[in-house]
């Protein structure tokens, strides 16, 4: 394979604004991804989710996506027919959405939704599909898959919902998973379990993972590479364990402002956003 799994070159996403013009919310993001863990960090509104959505073609109506190149496994995503694009979605590229509470259909059981994801891509008979779904639930460490299979989204906790979402997105064995803040809605303890699951998938299945978060410290302990985004741009790229080498003041600021157990910094250092960062 000559080309990496995913190539993103100069990705731009814009939305119409109230003044009648357009505002770019992702402004020239470029990166490539192999079968590895790539982290994207940035504060709220920096364009992390929009980057992920653009890759899957899930940009909200009104949004326009452009890129010099946006290719998955050599397939040009922006110019391929919609049918192929849809076949890629879920089957080859999947995305765990930010908020499990709203991303699961409230009137369908968890099981139905997982089975549906599977059957959208492969012809599997009902019984077999159910078995696979139960296995998927088990693989994300749900204790009682039989029970959870029959539950409705409102009947499970946030952590379970998030895991069900991951199971749903992984059931068709995608080669690339974009996980949009898969842990920020969770308890600290559950958070780590979910991360462990994702980690195992990359190492065991050789899947590519884009991990989106605003928690720099967490991302840097988890990912192989980290992109730091600010106002729709990548301001810095760091390798794992390379936090110490971070140079951009924004990255440094992000690193610094978290309170730490057993540390006494009063007041906490805060970010002093400078307008030139956004240029």
């Amino acid at each position: 394979m000559t080309e990496p799994l995913l190539v993103v070159d100069d990705l731009r996403v814009s939305f119409p604004n109230r003044e009648g013009g357009r505002t770019e919310v992702v402004r020239g993001v470029s990166f490539t991804l192999g079968r590895e863990r790539l982290g994207i960090v940035g504060e709220s509104g920096s364009g992390k989710s929009q980057t992920g959505r653009a890759i899957l073609g899930l940009t909200a109506p009104g949004g326009i996506v452009t890129a010099k190149r946006l290719a998955f496994n050599g397939i040009d995503l922006l110019n391929c027919p919609p049918k192929q694009r849809r076949a890629l979605r879920g089957g080859h590229i999947a995305m765990v959405l930010q908020d499990p509470k709203f991303s699961l259909n409230p009137v369908m059981t968890i099981g139905e939704q997982i089975v549906e994801a599977l059957q959208a891509h492969t012809k599997v008979p009902g019984g077999e599909a159910k078995k696979r779904a139960l296995a998927a639930l088990e693989s994300v460490q749900i204790d009682d898959p039989e029970r959870v299979y029959q539950l409705y989204p409102h009947e499970v906790s946030g952590g379970m919902g998030q895991r069900a979402m991951i199971a749903m997105m992984l059931i068709a064995n995608p080669e690339l998973l974009i996980a949009d803040e898969p842990t920020s809605a969770l308890d600290v303890t559950v958070q780590l379990q979910v991360l462990a699951i994702l980690d195992a998938l990359v190492t065991e299945r050789g899947m590519g993972l884009v991990f989106v978060s605003h928690d720099l410290r967490l991302v840097s302990t988890f990912c192989d590479r980290v992109l730091v985004m600010y106002a729709g741009r990548v301001v810095e790229e760091l390798s794992a364990g390379g936090l110490a080498q971070a140079k951009h003041p924004y990255t440094l600021g992000l690193l610094n402002c978290l309170p730490q157990l057993g540390e006494h910094r009063h007041p906490l250092p805060t970010l002093d956003r400078r307008p030139e960062w956004a240029l």
């Binding site: 109230r18 003044e19 009648g20 013009g21």
Partner: protein, 306 residues
Amino acid sequence: MSTSPIKPGLHDWLMSDRPASRRQAAWGRAYGAWRVFMRNRLAMLGLFIVLALILVAIFAPLLAPYSPTVGDLRTTRLLPPSGQFWLGTDDQGRDILSRLIHGSRITLFVVVLVAVLAAPIGLLVGTVAGYAGGLVDATLMRITDIFLAFPRLILALAFVAALGPGIENAVIAIAITAWPPYARMARAETLTIRQTDYIAAVKLIGASPWRIVLHHIMPLCLSSLIVRVTLDMAGIILTAAGLGFLGLGAQPPMPEWGAMIANGRQYVLDHWWVAAAPGAAIFLVSLAFNLVGDGLRDALDPKGVK
């Protein structure tokens, strides 16, 4: 792309990020909503029709070519539309166009009065029931249910019969039958609103229940109410017309559109224009209100205004 009819200085003042006073802020907000509304071409069309209706109502005597109440049985009865009578004449030989023009006053009156009566009643009942809960809720909702479960036309008929004929009483009767759906809607909305943190926050500040209902909950139910009421306008005009059919709306020879339709009912097969003209007028006005309602929904959306 944005074509602002307001001169730049004023525009900036209105759109200022940092208004200097409450007044400026309020104007700014209204202006913002207006800009959103203005961009919706269909809503503007609707607004245009509504405004035209208002103007027609105001200047009815000047605009109407003939008297709305006097006709000639012998010479001008049931004439089809022509250069002389654009929309034809009715069974009393009266010019239908003139009647429509004068009738716009009554239509406006009915629509506005029903909205002013029914919407607030529904809003008040619904929000109070939803917020108070318990016995108050149960009582108010039972009353609402009874009014809902009662055949509407019967209720309206009975009220008109009791109050006596006349357009004012018809309006009251319609209002009495129109409020329950608003109450239900407001209650459902209140039930979700009252769970929110911002209501908890004002409770914490020490606000009284009445204050919470009046100042905090009602304004939130208002936008969906306004939208719903504008959507119901057609229904209101037609209920008035329905009473007119049964002879209990406007008093003859009042050119109320519903009554005109009722009158045209007899002549439908051979003199279609007698009923069609007021029917088309009602359609146009309800379309206009509907379009305005949709536009309002967008403009009133809190996230819609910058």
